[in-house]
């Protein structure tokens, strides 16, 4: 790693201006925890890093909407998510997921925007946000747009973000009436990257599931919504036999990738077990009011 330029734009517009280039050695820098790893191993050699720390305090704020949703600034740190009373009230599953994400030092500097934009399928936050129906606000040279978190990833370490585009916020719709859970499974040390992440979000009315979102990550090449599992859940009673059917559907549907954390077959088994446990836990924890 040799010298590079680190710039600190004072506004979002300036940051976008600096990033509006085809030079892929110029990149935004939020917490730097992912970038620094790539720089140290020589995978990424920047010429210029555009630090987003000074684009405005609004981009690190977390606010609850009157309707029961949440707006999270892209520059909010993962620690802020973990401890925010709003997050704990509106989307407790997000705060809980943070406690097993990396370690305190990483969480204190890593930002929500960087976590999403990195495009690493092993991250814990994206599947949770996707299951909650979250979207990101994106600002770029051509203006702003919204992208659902589940549509943000286009490949392994790839996102749909275009030239000069930045994530500015994460928006969660109303969580009232939704029961959610996220389980991560590690197969080596407890603090390893997940071999599998499963996030579920259910709307249960009168004992029956009216809406369901099931998201798998880490074991698949990109974060994936499991629609056949969702269909198996929707309209059925929230009970063991429904969950068993959903788990078999998920196992048939998900395309698992073999790596040092396990074979594809083994990860399929983990999905069967962990999806059932996540569904059970979501029901147990109950709905957000």
């Amino acid at each position: 790693m040799r010298g590079f330029e680190l710039v600190h734009p004072g506004s979002l517009a300036d940051a976008i201006g600096l990033l509006d280039t085809d030079d892929d050695t110029v990149r935004p820098f939020s917490g730097g925890t992912a970038l620094m790893l790539m720089m140290k191993t020589g995978v990424f050699r920047p010429s210029r890093l555009v630090h987003l720390g000074r684009i405005g305090d609004a981009y690190s704020e977390i606010t609850a909407s009157p309707a029961g949703g949440l707006r999270i600034g892209a520059m909010a740190t993962l620690s802020a998510l973990e401890h925010s009373p709003e997050v704990i009230r509106v989307a407790p599953v997000v705060a809980r997921a943070m406690t097993r994400l990396a370690n305190v030092r990483v969480r204190n500097v890593a930002c929500v925007g960087g976590n999403l934009a990195h495009g690493d399928p092993h991250m814990d936050l994206p599947p949770v946000l996707a299951a909650l129906g979250g979207s990101v606000s994106v600002a770029g040279p051509q203006g702003t747009r919204d992208v659902a978190v589940e549509k943000l990833f286009s490949g392994y370490y790839e996102t749909v973000l275009g030239r000069g585009e930045l994530i500015t916020d994460v928006v969660l719709p109303s969580q009232r009436g939704w029961s959610s859970a996220y389980l991560k499974c590690t197969t080596r040390s407890a603090d390893d990257w997940p071999a599998l992440g499963v996030a579920v979000s259910l709307r249960i009315e009168g004992g029956a599931i009216s809406e369901a979102r099931v998201v798998v990550s880490a074991a698949t090449e990109i974060l994936t919504r499991l629609t056949t599992a969702e269909s198996a859940l929707t309209g059925a009673a929230a009970d063991e036999s429904t969950f068993a059917r959903a788990c078999e559907a998920a196992a048939a549907e998900a395309e698992m990738v073999e790596d040092a954390r396990g074979s594809a077959d083994y990860k399929t088994q983990l999905l069967r077990v962990y999806l059932r446990r996540a569904l059970t836990q979501a029901v147990q924890d109950g709905a957000v009011s």
Partner: protein
């Protein structure tokens, strides 16, 4: 985690030995003031970065350094030809002179250093290293230790054992073999024992290649003088570095100075000679100081722990006594021997385990392969052996329907009985360790086996180790005119607490406060010879030398008192004696101690000797675990580690050695694994090679100091740095078997491996019942 403190805390008369003295360097370390080579910068220093081989085995066709040389800021790019101008025969190693300072003509493993780049800026050196291109003609490679026995791929055309070891002489000049050392032991009539056996059990066990992962990666800095060379290095063996560098350069020892400050962990990685040979050559070549610091990633290509295959076979009579045992052990030594041949022999002879078996044969082979080299790692081969023999022992007990603890008791080596080599086992509390674990775990009482998909089980294992012999330690105690004392010693405190323990021995002997003894860190111009800080030898060997040195000083103080006309036993402080003698605060007293235990080398044909080790280390582990049968996850609810370390010099340090060793072995047992693809380590980083973290510590952990005394040790003590590694792996595998009825014979014991075994067992039982 709850840690149960050992109960033994019995200080000696002066109150120093046996006291849990807080570590002398603790404050310096937590305040960031401790010295490490890592932080050392000297004027005109150049940084080195090496270009490493990308192929596992190949002939070097060409090296193009021009682009690197053209990069601004590059001082020099160095190849083996340049090294030869400084050292004509640039091959080093503790057992074999087989390792080139930079690759000569061919490379033998991925990651082998081929070219060195020097620059004032380490980042420039790193960038220039990327610009060097090396062309190779690939050669057939061999990676597996069993294949290496017969493969047509030969890693070294000719064996080059170092002349210093008599037991390697027969290997000189051997060609076209990957067997670096074949150690054999023959005792009794094994064939007859098997012919007469009521039961025969045969199994094969394997371990994987793992790494020491010291958090301070290896680092060395060489500074040339007028006709001297000073090497600052994070080494566990400064005396060996001095001798080996002097040999390479053809210099007398006294012109090479080796200094070692604190180490950020060693675990065997920083032993013998590692980075020192290259920095020495580079510094002399360019006449400037040169520093070489490895990254964590590079350590995976530098030294590792042997992967192994162990075939073990036992003859058992109808009373459940083991009457014969055959052991065949294959050690995957990687591309360079390092200390592998020593592991093969010094550990190999304990392969039958701590059992009283009359008829034994052992064949232990050190093999060259095209993997990164393997050397010593906390346990020196013993954990690989115990993994096999204690898994095997458990399987025999199960096969005979006997309780595993009762079966062990029936066969244990008891005091005075000869071990496989014929050396009688003395001061080895093998039974005491087993009893302590069984008692803590309430082995005789019924055990809750869990319910639903989560099953519970428990397992136990004991192992032992002989100390490497014969080795020498020398110590100097310098009593100043005010009565304060310095201890000069080349033993390296790499975090294990030896400075504190050694100071306690001086303090106890001279009746001082431990905190008032200053330990001078290794500096071969100043501190005397010590073979190396390895194999848990320091407490015993260096400890004995320190005690002798302190006694020598104490005797001289007494003689001084007598010469001044003071009656024996009169209560004069040393300071008063000096003053009386010299008329002022002046002078000093130097006590010197040299220790080498008695030893008889094994007969080459039979491997037998009646005095093969000065002491035995004993360690055992008991675990209670939970297996999630739906996923194969194993959770360790409770782990008890008991060790015989003689009397504890410092109970608190002993306890951390026990828990630390056990946790390190826990990582090797459960998940650590160097993933290799055509000789390339695909997970060579801390992000992808996982070591245990806080959440992997068993819910309940107990460290037990078994009641014992090593009569020949200093104040009854002996080493303990490795003992708690012995039993961990088999205890867990035994517990898995106990919980869910499946046996894993290959480490690591990953959830996937457990799950697969469960599935297979299920399939087998459904096919047999169908």
């Amino acid at each position: 985690m709850t840690i149960h403190r050992p109960t033994i805390d019995r200080p000696m008369p002066a109150g120093q030995v046996g006291r849990s003295v807080p570590r002398l360097e603790a404050r310096q370390k937590v305040t960031g003031r401790a010295d490490y080579v890592h932080n050392l910068v000297v004027p005109r220093m150049l940084y080195c970065k090496v270009v490493r081989s990308t192929v596992p085995h190949g002939r070097i066709l060409s090296i193009d350094t021009s682009a690197a040389e053209a990069l601004e800021g590059v001082y020099r790019v160095v190849t083996a030809d340049d090294i030869r101008t400084v050292v004509p025969n640039p091959f080093y190693g503790p057992a074999f002179h087989d390792q080139p300072v930079l690759a000569v003509e061919k490379v033998r493993h991925v990651g082998e250093p081929v070219v060195a780049v020097l620059a004032e800026d380490p980042y420039v050196a790193a960038e220039a290293a990327q610009l060097v291109t090396v062309e190779y003609e690939p050669m057939e490679a061999v990676f597996d230790e069993i294949e290496a026995m017969t493969s047509t791929a030969v890693v070294h055309e000719v064996l080059k054992p170092a002349g210093t070891f008599p037991d390697l002489k027969h290997l000189v000049g051997r060609r076209d073999t990957n067997i670096a050392l074949d150690y054999r032991l023959r005792r009794g009539d094994v064939d007859a024992a098997f012919a007469a056996a009521d039961h025969v059990f045969a199994h094969e066990f394997k371990t994987q290649q793992v790494m020491h992962t010291p958090l301070e990666p290896m680092v060395s800095l060489a500074e040339p003088g007028e006709d001297t060379l000073t090497i600052h290095t994070a080494s566990q063996s400064p005396s060996f570095v001095r001798i080996e560098i002097a040999r390479l350069l053809g210099w007398p020892e006294n012109r090479v100075r080796v200094k070692v400050p604190h180490l950020g962990g060693g675990f065997g990685a920083k032993l013998y000679i590692k980075l020192e040979a290259l920095v020495a050559c580079l510094a002399l070549l360019v006449r400037r100081p040169v520093k070489w610091s490895l990254t964590m990633e590079e350590q995976f290509y530098t030294i590792t722990k042997h992967a192994s295959t162990f075939r073990i076979e036992s003859a058992v009579d109808k009373e459940g006594r083991v009457t014969g045992r055959r052991c065949e052990v294959f050690w995957n030594g990687g591309a360079y021997a390092d200390i592998g041949p020593r592991v093969t022999q010094k550990s190999g002879f304990t392969a039958p385990g701590p059992y009283d078996i009359d008829n034994v044969s052992i064949d232990s082979y050190a093999l060259y392969t095209n993997r990164p080299p393997a050397g010593a790692l906390r346990g020196f081969g013993i954990p690989q052996l115990v993994w096999a023999y204690e898994s095997h022992t458990d399987l025999i007990a199960r096969g005979l329907g006997l309780d595993p603890v009762a079966f062990r008791r029936k066969n244990l080596l008891r005091d005075g009985r000869p071990q496989a080599t014929g050396t009688p086992v003395r001061d080895a509390a093998i039974e005491g360790v087993l009893d302590d674990i069984a008692a803590r775990m309430a082995w005789e009482t019924p055990f809750d086996r869990g319910s639903g998909p989560v099953k519970r089980g428990r397992g136990i294992a004991v192992g032992f180790k002989a100390s490497i012999a014969p080795t020498t330690s020398v110590a100097i105690v310098n009593v100043a005119a005010d009565g304060s004392a310095n201890l000069y010693l080349s033993t390296v405190d790499m975090g294990q607490g030896s400075d504190t323990a050694m100071a306690q021995i001086v303090a106890e002997t001279l009746t001082l406060r431990t905190e008032d003894v200053k330990v001078v860190h290794p500096d071969t111009d100043v501190t005397p010879y010590d073979m190396a800080t390895l194999g848990s030898r320091s407490t015993f060997h260096a400890g004995n030398a320190v005690k002798l040195a302190a006694e020598h000083a104490r005797d001289q103080i007494a003689a001084l008192a007598a010469s001044l006309g003071l009656p024996p036993g009169s209560n004069y402080a040393p300071a008063d004696l000096f003053k009386k003698k010299y008329g002022m605060q002046a002078g000093n007293i130097i006590g010197v101690g040299t220790y080498i235990p008695e030893y008889k080398s094994p007969a080459p044909e039979t491997g037998l000797s009646d005095n093969v080790t000065p002491f035995w280390m004993v360690g055992g582990t008991g675990v209670e675990i939970e297996v999630d049968t739906e996923t194969g996850h194993v959770r360790i609810l409770r782990m008890v580690n008991a060790c015989d370390l003689g009397r504890p010099l410092n109970p608190k340090i002993v306890e951390t050695q026990i828990s630390g060793a056990a946790l390190m072995q826990l990582g090797f047992t459960m998940f650590e694994n160097m993933d290799l693809d055509d000789g390339q380590v695909t997970n060579a980083s801390l992000a992808d090679y996982k070591i245990p973290g806080m959440h992997d510590v068993p819910d309940q952990m107990e460290s037990v100091i078994t009641e014992a005394e090593q009569k020949s040790g200093p104040y009854g003590a002996k080493g303990v740095g490795e003992s708690a590694t012995f039993g961990v792996s088999p205890a867990i595998a035994n517990a898995i078997h106990d919980a869910v009825g499946v046996r894993l014979t290959e480490m690591p014991l990953t959830p996937q491996a457990v799950f697969r075994a469960l599935r297979e067992a299920e399939l087998n039982s459904s096919t047999t019942s169908a």
